[in-house]
């Protein structure tokens, strides 16, 4: 099974105002999804305004001239649908999943909030409190999330990827309603949006539904560019978090290029060789053989607008020194650089190929894959993913390990548990 049948069912159109729209026909599916992706995330925030993109995402649910706050969600749910939104470093996405016949309801509501959002000081203060609670929930009461946030903060010195998507608490406190309005004006314009749909519907019908609602909106001005380039790291950086916790963590981050770069696909294979599945090198050693870690993971930021952070993180079984776990991770990385890794690479490529194909089982995963590929590289580039991966040799994987997983490009974080909670 290859990707071509999946890709050949994706169609692209431009609405009269120039907005881009992608649609995929999913035959036999009673459910459909309609999504709007804006090319704005924490990457686009000015210094001192971290968390602004995410707060704007929350404010989009606060009502319009016709709808009370949160009415958007109530109406979608009453029609048997689900709706939510999320913010990443690069994007903000709003989605609805519901019966295909009900999709026009969702499009009408989306149009309403795109054109008549009502922002009041009272709603703003309430939602800011909600976001501050979300930060406490996801980061401040979670030792591991705290460490990963700090790791990014030391790994990046000038690029906006150094601050968290949810924002620093001090920045959140200082955000104003004017900041939100300004951000909306700059980035929430049709020319900066991608309309995405997946449904068992004729593509022409779908595009007509879109055109009749969104085609006449003014496209808006060009959005401000983010031209920051992260300076080359020239030496190891370290951070140590000491707080009450039961389980320690060791995390490492390395600057790497993203999709489009000649090394990107080899880095994707490298991440899988190291920690993709239970037969990966780090899992075998840290979890299976030496029982040092509860688990170990590795992420390569392939689909990223700017170069991101390749991370390795292990949760340490209580009783083992963090230093020993860090040494074990590093030894494995060093071993890989001088080993014959043909078998590892072959396994990783097969795992990645099957994982991608099996992920297409889900409606939401299909949408995520299409949108992220489109906004980072062009959706059609997904077609080359498997063949480019197939071309990656084991020598190339070793070469990128030598090039990027080196001490001068490394940031290391330790979460040191300070006794039982």
């Amino acid at each position: 099974m290859e990707l071509s049948p999946f890709l050949s069912s994706i169609q692209e159109a431009r609405l009269s105002n120039g907005s881009r729209a992608l649609f995929r026909r999913r035959r036999g599916s009673p459910l459909a999804t309609f999504q709007v992706w804006y090319k704005v995330g924490s990457r686009n925030e000015p210094l001192g305004k971290s968390g602004l993109s995410h707060l704007v995402e929350h404010m989009m649910f606060k009502g319009t001239e016709k709808m009370a706050p949160e009415e958007f969600s109530r109406i979608i749910q009453a029609h048997g649908g689900q709706t939510n939104a999320f913010t990443t470093k690069d994007f903000t996405a709003y989605y609805v999943v519901m019966a295909k016949e009900k999709i026009p309801v969702a499009m009408d509501l989306e149009l309403e909030r795109m054109t008549a959002l009502r922002l009041t000081p009272q709603d703003f203060q309430i939602e800011k409190s909600v976001v501050m609670e979300e930060r406490r929930l996801r980061t401040e009461t979670q030792p591991e999330a705290h460490l990963l946030e700090e790791l990014e903060a030391i790994a990046f010195t000038s690029h906006p990827y150094r601050w968290p998507i949810i924002g620093w608490m001090e920045d959140l406190e200082a955000l104003t309603l004017e900041d939100v309005e300004d951000h909306l004006r700059k980035y929430y314009v049709p020319s900066n949006a991608l309309f995405l749909g997946i449904a068992d519907t004729e593509p022409g019908e779908w595009f007509e539904l879109l055109e009749s609602r969104f085609g006449s909106l003014a496209p808006g001005n060009a959005t401000p560019r983010v031209d920051v380039r992260e300076p080359t790291q020239r030496g190891e950086r370290r951070t140590v978090i000491r707080r009450k916790a039961e389980v320690g963590m060791v995390a490492m981050g390395f600057h790497v290029p993203q999709v489009g770069h000649e090394d990107a696909m080899a880095l994707e294979v490298l991440a899988c060789v190291l920690a993709g599945g239970k037969s990966s090198r780090l899992y075998r050693r840290l979890v299976q053989k030496e029982a040092l870690a509860v688990d170990v993971g590795c992420e390569n930021p392939l689909l990223s607008v700017d170069p991101g952070l390749f991370t390795i993180a292990a949760r340490v079984i209580p009783g083992h020194p963090l230093e020993r776990v860090e040494d074990a991770i590093w030894q494995e990385v060093e071993d890989l650089k001088c080993s014959q890794i043909q078998e590892d690479v072959k396994r990783a490529k097969e795992t990645l190929r099957r994982s991608l194909l099996l992920a297409l089982d889900s409606l939401m995963t299909q949408a995520m894959i299409i949108a992220q590929w489109d906004l980072c590289a062009g959706w059609w580039k997904l077609g080359g993913y498997l063949s480019l991966m197939e071309e990656v040799t084991w020598e190339k994987v070793r070469e990128v390990a030598l090039k990027y997983l080196c001490p001068e490009n490394r940031s290391v974080g330790w979460l040191v548990p300070q006794g039982s909670q």
């Binding site: 035959r27 409190s129 979670q142 099996l358």
Partner: protein, 426 residues
């Protein structure tokens, strides 16, 4: 039924086990297989809480034919979508593969289930890892609150502990406990097998018949648990110097086959299960900005259920948010819900049902669960008609019969000095 939604064909097999075959959408050459065994943490012997979970996880750590590493390599080569879920009532082993790998995947599952070797070394390593996982849960206020809440409702036995077990009980599990538990509970069945997706029924039946030959028996006699009644109206608290408290409040509730289940689901949607369509979210989040998440939920299980309301909020808001949960639970018992609320709840529950079976994997899992909980493959049809029948009166009657906020057990994990609540410290 949701618009355009049709129940796919299902088939059963004679004997002590069942299988179902269904194809929700045939666009992708993917097959999901599930094997469900009726053994869960409910079956953990006293003092050995976590035994079912540990035994289930050890199934993949070596068989008579293959080492743990060889099994893991095989799983990864099939795409890695393999899981063993050991829950309160059951253990489910599942894998989702490309059509071309169906035969190999079934062989692997059968080998894991029929011929585990339980190597001693793997036992010790997996036990250490499980202790690490349990310790890790303590770093999450939600995990700490959940453990204390379950124990308060049920005692340590039955549903009173997380399926992973407790630190002290897992420490005490020996190799012999694992092999004995496997012999008594996990290798007996009866199994529920489900294959879902792009699969040829005749071929699948042939493969499964061969694999199941001479295997699968009625379950052993279930041991009856002596259950202590939960404390009434207690607030239990754990002091943690963290900026936000986690609160769970609730009571024991109805099981998965209770006749009031559907009215309960409608009532719960309106109270706190319906996100922005619910009263708890409206008051605690949308009007007050006190929490990111506020909810109520029913976990309807085999031998009873768990009803829980919960939220996380800055410590000084705890008293007010707890009072809102109590007020709203009381209000839904004594005041009729509005017609708009009723229609919205029914609209969501009925309309969103197809989401449970949108992917081949989730469809396979749900078919196995419907069979196990006695709901049957006709459950989607009954669900829709039963939810549609709910009325303002039936919702209030169900709330009156099954919600008793004055008896709720509450657990607070937070900075108690700042929450200013009166509670029994645990």
């Amino acid at each position: 039924m949701g618009p355009g939604w049709k129940l796919p064909p299902l088939e059963r097999m004679e004997g002590g086990y069942y299988l179902s075959i269904a194809s929700p959408q045939e666009e992708l050459p993917i097959v999901a297989i599930r094997a469900l065994i009726p053994s869960g943490s409910w079956d953990d012997p006293p003092g050995k809480e976590g035994l079912n979970f540990l035994t289930a996880q050890l199934l993949q750590q070596g068989t008579r034919k293959r080492s743990a590493e060889e099994i893991h390599r095989k799983i990864d080569s099939l795409g890695g979508r393999f899981h063993i879920d050991a829950n309160f009532d059951y253990t489910m082993v599942g894998i989702t593969v490309l059509r071309e790998d169906l035969s190999e995947a079934l062989d692997l599952l059968v080998e894991i289930l029929r011929e585990p070797a339980f190597p001693e070394e793997e036992f010790h390593k997996r036990k250490r890892r499980l202790l690490g996982q349990i310790a890790s849960q303590k770093d999450r206020p939600g995990g700490v609150a959940r453990a204390a809440f379950l124990e308060a409702l049920w005692g340590k036995r039955g549903y009173g502990h997380d399926p992973k077990g407790l630190e002290e009980s897992v420490q005490g599990i020996e190799m012999e406990d694992v092999t004995e538990h496997y012999r008594r509970r996990l290798c007996e069945g009866p199994f529920i097998w489900v294959a879902c997706g792009d699969v040829n029924p005749e071929k699948w039946w042939g493969m499964l018949r061969g694999a199941m030959e001479g295997w699968g028996h009625p379950p052993s006699e279930e041991e009856s648990h002596r259950e202590d009644l939960p404390p009434r109206g207690k607030i239990l608290a754990l002091d943690r110097k963290i900026p936000q408290a986690t609160v769970l409040m609730g009571q024991r509730s109805i099981d998965a086959t209770h006749p009031d289940l559907f009215d309960f689901l409608v009532m719960n949607y309106i109270l706190g299960g319906g996100g922005f369509g619910s009263r708890l979210v409206d008051r605690i989040r949308s009007k007050k900005g006190m929490a990111y998440s506020a909810f109520s939920r029913l976990e309807a299980l085999l031998r009873g259920g768990i009803f829980v309301c919960g939220f996380q909020t800055e410590n000084s808001n705890v008293r007010e948010a707890m009072a809102i949960c109590q007020e709203e639970a009381e209000r839904i018992r004594v005041e009729p819900v509005s017609l708009r609320e009723l229609d919205e709840a029914k609209g969501f529950l009925v309309g969103s049902f197809p989401m449970k079976i949108d992917s081949i994997g989730s469809f396979a899992t749900n078919l196995a669960l419907w069979e196990f909980y006695g709901l049957g493959p006709e459950y989607p049809v009954r669900f829709t008609s039963s939810v549609t029948k709910a009325t303002v009166e039936s919702v209030m009657k169900t709330a009156r019969e099954h919600l008793d906020p004055h008896s709720w057990v509450s657990v607070v994990v937070g900075d108690l000095e700042r929450t200013k609540i009166e509670a029994e410290r645990i």
